[in-house]
Symmetry: D2
Subunit: 404 residues, 4 copies
Amino acid sequence: MSTFGSLFRVTTYGESHCASVGAIIDGCPPGLELSPQDIQVQLSRRRPGQSNLTTPRDEKDLVHVQSGIEQGVTLGTPIGILVKNEDQRPKDYSETDLYPRPSHADYTYLEKYGVKASSGGGRSSARETIGRVAAGAIAEKYLKQVFGIEIVAFVSSVGKIHLPSNVAPVAVDGDEDSDDVADALTPEFRELLATITREEVDKHPTRCPHLETAERMTKRIIRAKDSMDSIGGTVTCVIRNVPSGLGEPVFDKFEAKLAQAMMSIPATKAFEVGSGFKGTEVPGSKHNDAFVVKDGKLGTTTNWSGGIQGGITNGEDIYFRIGFKSPATISQAQHTAQYDGTPGTLAARGRHDPCVVPRAVPIVETMAAIVVMDQLLIQNARKAAAGLLPPITTLPPTMVMPSH
Amino acid sequence: MSTFGSLFRVTTYGESHCASVGAIIDGCPPGLELSPQDIQVQLSRRRPGQSNLTTPRDEKDLVHVQSGIEQGVTLGTPIGILVKNEDQRPKDYSETDLYPRPSHADYTYLEKYGVKASSGGGRSSARETIGRVAAGAIAEKYLKQVFGIEIVAFVSSVGKIHLPSNVAPVAVDGDEDSDDVADALTPEFRELLATITREEVDKHPTRCPHLETAERMTKRIIRAKDSMDSIGGTVTCVIRNVPSGLGEPVFDKFEAKLAQAMMSIPATKAFEVGSGFKGTEVPGSKHNDAFVVKDGKLGTTTNWSGGIQGGITNGEDIYFRIGFKSPATISQAQHTAQYDGTPGTLAARGRHDPCVVPRAVPIVETMAAIVVMDQLLIQNARKAAAGLLPPITTLPPTMVMPSH
Amino acid sequence: MSTFGSLFRVTTYGESHCASVGAIIDGCPPGLELSPQDIQVQLSRRRPGQSNLTTPRDEKDLVHVQSGIEQGVTLGTPIGILVKNEDQRPKDYSETDLYPRPSHADYTYLEKYGVKASSGGGRSSARETIGRVAAGAIAEKYLKQVFGIEIVAFVSSVGKIHLPSNVAPVAVDGDEDSDDVADALTPEFRELLATITREEVDKHPTRCPHLETAERMTKRIIRAKDSMDSIGGTVTCVIRNVPSGLGEPVFDKFEAKLAQAMMSIPATKAFEVGSGFKGTEVPGSKHNDAFVVKDGKLGTTTNWSGGIQGGITNGEDIYFRIGFKSPATISQAQHTAQYDGTPGTLAARGRHDPCVVPRAVPIVETMAAIVVMDQLLIQNARKAAAGLLPPITTLPPTMVMPSH
Amino acid sequence: MSTFGSLFRVTTYGESHCASVGAIIDGCPPGLELSPQDIQVQLSRRRPGQSNLTTPRDEKDLVHVQSGIEQGVTLGTPIGILVKNEDQRPKDYSETDLYPRPSHADYTYLEKYGVKASSGGGRSSARETIGRVAAGAIAEKYLKQVFGIEIVAFVSSVGKIHLPSNVAPVAVDGDEDSDDVADALTPEFRELLATITREEVDKHPTRCPHLETAERMTKRIIRAKDSMDSIGGTVTCVIRNVPSGLGEPVFDKFEAKLAQAMMSIPATKAFEVGSGFKGTEVPGSKHNDAFVVKDGKLGTTTNWSGGIQGGITNGEDIYFRIGFKSPATISQAQHTAQYDGTPGTLAARGRHDPCVVPRAVPIVETMAAIVVMDQLLIQNARKAAAGLLPPITTLPPTMVMPSH
């Protein structure tokens, strides 16, 4: 349904052509300095109309905070926010009166609800993500301030244009019959994960931090736009400085909730964490991350695990990649069928993104922030409770965490 | 935590060296004929010791039903089940007293809980999955009987040994600068999805349905075993005959819950549905699934979507792929560090699977069944409620589902 | 937290002096004709300023629907609603800068959150209930239209002024050493439960349907008002025409969720269902509700159970009673202490209800509607699932529900 | 359904005539010393056969811990427990093959599930409570050890035999037309709440701590037993030393979750906290609890609130009262109807409690412990998160909690 999270919890409403879209964010720690601008910054990164690569639908997407904050400080009570739908042009969608758009949600929404919004796919609109982004922006503010947690996403591919293999998240190769593998995690890639910033990402409209690749991506998107077509891509995200111990086995493991969060974003078809699919080709002896002391506590020499082991964070960088399909709504004519089965040709009008991945970047970041925040609060509860117990003296020392 | 599902809900307990592992399955429809054997069949497919490709740990894994069933019929009340831990050899794990196993959960469990089970990784043991498998076996019984839903998983790769591209789930290729793509969904692959059965899958110990590939996988696994190493792989799963309309936007979309379910299985690192990562390279004009009438209702000519659009099932086959990393526990010596940071060499004894994917097959199937069952019940509730309302007469016919 | 319900789910935000209060209602059946006026009617019954018995704070409390409804029909997606806070006078509360109001939530909110709203008790304001009332009004529309369910609450006592014993919900008496009991459920009382309407309840500003008692209640409230004091009371509520089978043992029994719902309303201190506390004095032989055929199915001759047995509705009228304490905010001087412990005297200004029970009537009704709606959807899911199974033939007929 | 709690979470299974009853307790803090005996002590207080006042069904009710504890210390992972059903005599219930027992759950279970257990009311059996009691006993261990929290329940009435008014939880009286009220909270009653122990409660088989009243209660129960009848009663419970700040507005207020917990216990019909129903008759000026400094922090001079204000604990004793109806199963002949509507006479055999309140005492205590534990963990999470933020300097000091 439309609620996510247990202690840090967001509930959203709204489709593209109603009065507003919004969210209620429950469980924000009290006493956090928070201004509308803290929320706006990610909404503005998400909104359309930022470059010639995205939909020309121009909306200011100004956030209106309704509750939960007084004089710039959170009260700990639910934060209501809303963003008005100002630039509505429902007429644009009139073709969809007869045709369910192929690979869009028009048909399935009707199958599910028996009735559909005039805009067609109802809540499958990217506009639905505004509430999530607002919630995640609040989580980010806390995580950054208290733990120095940094969440940075960037575009790692558009169509067949990928980051070069030395900075790609996964690039294992080698002879099928040997165990030789190229190092999927090159020093360059680990350096990228360790240092990339949102400012660098935003330097190019594609949000790809490798400029030469970014230029090729731009051409690819323009080509899709010019041919009234669309193209997909992938977003890679890193979360730095997450404390160890987050994630709730067995069903709410860190990567499981992260996967749910990411796969709930419109147009996502794939998710991988750490070495991902390619890592399955690497034998354990090469894939295991050996332990080593770093800054006085255990860390790992490599990080194929992507910062998560056994569903629990280990303190290393968490990185993951999400696949976004090519947008279903294209202006090119498509042979398909009407709701009643009559074959025919549909050419959608309206304003559409030829490629969603640049705008998906802040959505991925903020959904990641919500997951981290929620898991952090749950682990906080456990640690605070356990910390009040006397030291365990009846177990062998090897079963108990050394004080550190 | 250890509960999954909202209306069909499983809660599990147990680690590898305690008295038993088990589960409480709440929300099973009453009046279902159900015998322990219905549950046992998947537990037996999951258990170790089935071939020389898996761990020699030999456990009967007999299910003991505690409640919720009388005279072979479900009562609708919680079904308690347990499987005793009979073949415990805690001593095997003594090396782990000093060393956290690299890429295993020993370290993170200790970071999370401050105390760890003598077996090391606690609930990260594959033995934890018994409760899920039992729950899913119950769901499968219902889904098969009432809807003819068939869930079949199979091994699609081991290390670099993949199914041949004509029957692989994703194999897009072609010139980077053109929109030409090989058809990722060959007729052969769609035929495989449409017809594959568990009996065929089980014919080979690898659970790969393509025998020539299966033989190469066997060699790869034996090689890992012989070198005291391990190897990963992927499992592909198809769900047939799922009604349209399942999935709860926006956070509990069908693929989002499926992703959470799959990524909660031990050793998983990646998930993709439908055309997945490769599909992101295909332009919308080729990726969109055109509608066509099939058996009197709308279906699609292709199925890049994997049976899900806008987070809701559309009635086509649902297929997805999961990546399992190489098992972390290997007998080969590994240079790493002890809990206290002292560098050293660890060589794990104990019995370990060199490759988990063959045994993962029933786990994937049963977790999928739990997701389908839960979403089905939720959609049932909505449909039943909406079905009691009078027909909508005030909306334009294009906004309302035609009677069918 | 601020979310209630599993399939029909309301999440609320807002305190008394922020921009607005509102709610997101998720899970409303699609295809329901619903206008803002359907929601407004209960909001207007709840709002202050309706008579000289309530706070003069005059707010229009106009509902603004944001989403989930198009052309007067629900889409099945979340319905966002908000009501603006127009008549704010934060200055009135300045005394509370130094003093936590006795028996109000000022102190506990500060203990909980470490920071408090300028209005003091934050979400403990009665204004918080607007979101619930809107949600419940939507549920009521559905329940009334489809099942003919009627939910009517009324004031059954103000201070020591109670409904006369022949129409009181509980009035058991008699000799302590005998089992003789006056019938707590007089024909008059059952008749009242069976026939009372909101129109009748609203005829008198006290919302007590027994006019002579209502007049005495009025005097009691005026006396409290004139003496700058306050007074409590009870509300009795009946739910008619609820299908049998609702309620989810063991923790979500019908009365358990009803109790949670009612005890979450501000100022509530007590809840009882059916014969309640007084019924505990009646021996089983007199308290048991014998079965009898009514309208072709089983009903009961008496209804001490209040329509619920074993946590599940039995089709009889559900009735329950809630105790509301005297409002904590009074203008009379009170000897108490400041936040820092300094003893002193507090005389609250501001506009306060001398008695909340008349305005509590629609809040009780709507919370009841939310509980019924949620439980109905869950039971719908089960029934729909079980109804698709073949008839049970292997059990003795006495274990299976006869077709009816 | 059969799960309660969010961070400290219990899920139960089992009815009276299946193999076992049990529970999974998830979220227990790791590092707690816990033995089966810690759990057994409350199970033994709950079990039947303790005196001639309870059912002769004699069961040892020995707890078998399955997981989550090693060498006497909790691991933080789910604790599985079960208790075997040893003394089953299903034949005793054969009358119920034709007759639904009046006011029992036979009929409603059949209406809900369409099939029923041979024992009739399925999970409405008191035997279901074993899982809760085990879970609560674990919570109690933690709460007692870390916070010194004491939870003591006792029988406050049986039939019309009540504790004398000076030690009764509620006994307000006086002239209807004046505001004079006897003090409902006498010094004697507050002293009882402050000092009562389980040892004192257990001195008498009725578990009423006032011996003269206890003797009269005994006679009342014996009379019910001798006349093949049953009788109800009330249990009062106090929770001491609960930290301030627990409870999650607005739907999970402390008293709301407490009410749900208590009203989910079989046979409960009423719940009140603090001054309860009688308190509604007391004007605010007398009912408000004035603040005063106690032990260096704010406390209240009186405690009509029952330790909860605005849904949040204030640090004072929490006390509440629950009404249990007379058991529905009696051996006396009852005129009623069969499932098929045929009128007739039912005389239940089997072993039944003539009065459940003495055995309900540990059930009330342990359910209270579960609520406190869950709310404590949630508030811990918030406090830990807020505590890491810098001090709030931008708000007026009156809006911020003074350091203490």
